[in-house]
């Protein structure tokens, strides 16, 4: 189940530059393609495509959004069990374990590099405790 690029592609290369798995290939000004085996369905190609040329596995066209309007994870630390599944799920490594606070000796996940966050939600999908939601990102 991978995303696909339609004929509306202008070959600008934005998608291949942002793809965290280098799954998109194509020459400049020519239609790009996604290697299905490498696609992890993060959707970042769709969010950045100026031509609206990306469709998800169900044929739904992605909508371009300004990066400042992309969503980013918010952690409910009461539900979080610090299992670090989210850190592993993140394809760009933008999360990190923070220092412990108060009497709790555990370190919990936090956003370490918002500028590289793709807003893909793979951390949300992986969290077994439903402790992560996506919300509009704060200005860095």
């Amino acid at each position: 189940m991978a995303y696909i690029i339609t004929n509306a592609c202008t070959g600008c290369g934005s998608c291949s530059r942002i793809c965290p798995t280098q799954a998109i290939t194509g020459e400049k000004k020519k239609i790009h393609t996604i290697v299905p085996d490498l696609c992890i369905e993060c959707g970042s190609c769709g969010r950045i495509c100026p031509a609206g040329a990306v469709e998800d596995a169900f044929g739904i066209a992605s909508v371009r959004m300004k990066k400042s309007a992309w969503l980013a994870p918010v952690f409910d630390l009461k539900a979080c069990m610090a299992c670090v599944i989210c850190l592993d799920a993140c394809p760009v490594g933008c999360l990190a374990v923070g220092p412990p606070e108060g009497k709790d000796p555990n370190g919990y996940p936090r956003m370490a590099d918002l500028s590289s966050c793709l807003g893909c939600g793979l951390c949300v999908a992986g969290c077994p405790a439903d402790a992560i939601t996506l919300a509009p990102r704060m200005a860095p």
């Binding site: 069990m81 670090v84 993140c90 000796p105 370190g107 590289s116 077994p128 405790a129």
Partner: protein, 651 residues
């Protein structure tokens, strides 16, 4: 729709530099699961009989767990498999951290290497595929420096790195493989196999997704487990734990243990919570297994009180998918600024086993051994062996390079271990474990070498819990404490979900533990079978100790794979894996009887004082009864010819 596993493995020949993928049929996962089982399948298939463990024909496997990455909890462990140079037979070691999901993100359930490279190399895998690269820049570096080298300037998904340190490079037979800056897959001497192949590291940067069949069901079962993990009463103190151990020693009866208490201790302090408690109850071998709690009382062991570790713990460390977090990162003084919190095994093997009260030296040695990539259990035993040799006149000061090797002399202990890491002088003799050392030295020193089939047993005294004696002696990889014991059986509570297994009475007399009977054989076999499932799933032993109704591994496996197997059928899978591993040993010329743990660990001679006074273990009867449970020849411990033929037909 996924089924939790990736369906293929990678095979790398370091000699020819040929890299191939092998598809694994679904029926193999159904027969053996992943992890330990898949490792056994691959090694049985690919290693020719009689292969030299340090030669090109040996195969070393890094295998993830079937449940790793599926939304289950406690399933971040991976298994290192290969023919052990320490025992000459099946070898496995297990480790947590973040490496296990990284294997699956590369699209494989296991990565297997064979052959020997002419020059040092590392294996790098990303989404574009695997590649062997030159490792000359990191060869000679310790494990922490090696990881730092690869992580420097890295951006993107966190890397999975497994590497060897100088001990593995020097083919020390007690070396292991490190991940996450010093978390060791330490046992079976498999670091030496990696070193012999000149493979410095495996660096993983894949992005493949791991998809279970029913993620919602996985989540539901995980929520049940997490509820029990988060239950934590606030009133426990470290001294209370030591007192509990003393009480357990004094009482003539035993209350069957519930894993929830152990979970609470682990969550609060980690494995060091057992430091004093174990000594008090007779669970920790003292003074190279010839001493007792009388030699290492509460006052002497006070420096290893769990609170001493909490005080310098900077942050708790959670392995992948672990809600408990028994690990920690501690600050230290001296050469190193921080270290992974030393584990119980390390503290006692470098502490009570040597009568070493100097906790600072233990912190230092913990980091030194982690960086060198050397097994702290075996290293502690090697030092204890050397001290006893010195005490008994086998070693003179000339033999010890001038070291005054006496019990508790922390400066000499540190120097000796530094020599072992560097393979200098006396350290060269000891760096291959106690069995090899005693063979080299002779002069009656074998009496001081405590081991099972060549591997040093862990810091759990088999005179206190004969279940440890059984599993030290009958497992295809002997001397390990992570398979079974009477205590583990009580905590697993398998009889709650598997029909036909003996129940443990909530209160029983201590003397009954030492009677070898059919129920104990059944319990021992169940432990082995269950731990093959646990290690096939990538599950942590500490998670499994919660009890089978609280951590529903069989339900997780069904939800992840889409299978509808019963717990009984899974236990049969565990038995298959055990038979395959034992058949591996038989094929490689191992006589299972020769793995019997040393006499000292069996109460021979019987101790005359201390917690284990008067106790002896009927090991021969126990081993025989255990082998009968698997349908193997009870006299030799070997599976019958027909059993092996049937097994090979199914490969």
């Amino acid at each position: 729709m996924g089924n939790g596993y990736m369906g293929k493995v990678l095979i790398v020949d370091l000699g020819t530099r040929n890299i191939t993928e092998e598809e694994i049929p679904d029926r193999i996962y159904r027969q053996y699961l992943s992890g330990m089982g898949l490792g056994a399948y691959m090694l049985y298939k690919h290693i020719p009989a009689g292969a030299d463990p340090l030669g090109p024909d040996n195969m070393l496997g890094f295998v993830s767990g079937l449940l790793t990455g599926t939304g289950s909890l406690f399933t971040g462990r991976w298994t290192l498999v290969g023919k052990s140079p320490l025992t000459g037979g099946w070898g496995d070691a297990n480790c947590g951290g973040t490496f296990s999901p990284a294997i699956k993100h590369c699209g494989y359930d296991g990565i297997f290497v064979r052959g020997i490279s002419e020059t040092p190399v590392y294996l790098y895998i990303n989404d574009q595929g695997p590649e062997l690269r030159d490792a000359s820049q990191v060869w000679g570096k310790d494990t922490v420096e090696t990881e730092a080298h690869f992580r420097k300037d890295w951006t993107g998904r966190q890397l999975g790195i497994a590497c060897i340190g100088p001990a593995g490079e020097g083919v020390s037979l007690i070396s292991g493989v490190s991940t996450d800056n010093g978390r060791m897959a330490a046992r079976s001497g498999l670091g030496a196999v990696m070193g012999s192949k000149r493979l410095k590291a495996v660096v993983l940067a894949g992005n493949k997704r791991i998809v279970p069949r029913n993620r919602m069901e996985m989540k539901r079962i995980s929520a049940i487990c997490n509820k029990w993990v988060q239950f934590q009463p606030p009133f426990m103190t470290a001294t209370m734990m030591a007192g509990t151990g003393a009480l357990m020693r004094a009482l003539p009866s035993v209350m069957a243990q519930d894993g929830l208490l152990y979970k609470m201790m682990l969550k609060k302090w980690g494995t060091v919570s057992m430091n004093q408690m174990s000594v008090e109850m007779g669970d920790s071998p003292i003074k190279n297994w010839k001493g007792s709690n009388r030699d290492w009382g509460l006052f002497k062991s006070h420096s290893s009180n769990p609170e001493a570790f909490s005080r310098c713990e900077e942050v708790k460390y959670h392995c992948y998918s672990c809600p408990l977090g028994c690990g920690g990162i501690c600050s230290t003084t001296g050469k190193f600024q921080e270290t992974h919190k030393p584990e119980y095994e390390t503290v006692l093997s470098l502490g009570g086993l040597l009568l070493n009260k100097d906790i600072d030296s233990i912190f230092y040695l913990n980091e030194l051994l982690n960086r060198a990539g050397m097994d702290s259990i075996s290293a502690g035993h090697a030092v204890a062996f050397a001290i006893e040799c010195y005490e008994e006149g086998v070693f003179t000061k000339k033999d010890t390079d001038g070291l005054e090797l006496t019990w508790g002399n922390s400066e000499a202990i540190v120097s000796l271990i530094e020599k072992m890491v560097a393979r200098e002088g006396i350290g060269h003799i000891l760096a291959d474990g106690v069995k090899q050392a005693s063979l080299r030295i002779g002069k009656g020193s074998e009496a001081f070498a405590v081991h099972a089939g060549g591997q040093e047993p862990a810091m759990h005294d088999s005179r206190n819990d004969p279940g440890f004696a059984l599993h030290y002696s009958v497992e295809p990889s002997p001397g390990k404490h992570t398979v079974g014991s009477g205590l583990y059986y009580e905590m697993f509570k398998l009889w709650q979900v598997v029909e036909g297994l003996p129940r443990v009475s909530p209160l029983y007399m201590k003397g009954s533990k030492y009677k070898a009977d059919e129920d104990k054989a059944k319990a021992g076999a169940a432990n082995s079978q269950f731990m093959n499932i646990v290690n096939g799933s990538g599950l942590c032993l500490f998670g499994a100790l919660l009890g089978s109704k609280r951590i529903r591994v069989f339900d997780w496996l069904n939800a992840a794979t889409g299978w509808t197997l019963t717990p009984q059928e899974y236990m049969a899978v565990g038995a298959n894996v055990q038979t395959l591993r034992q058949a591996f040993n038989v094929r490689h010329g191992i006589e299972p009887k020769s793995f019997k743990v040393s006499d000292r660990a069996l109460g021979r001679p019987i101790q005359t004082k201390g917690a284990n006074k008067g106790r002896t273990v009927e090991i021969e009867t126990m081993m025989r009864d255990y082998w009968l449970q698997f349908g193997w020849d009870p006299e030799t411990g070997k599976p019958f010819h027909e059993t092996i033929q049937e097994l090979e037909a199914g490969l």
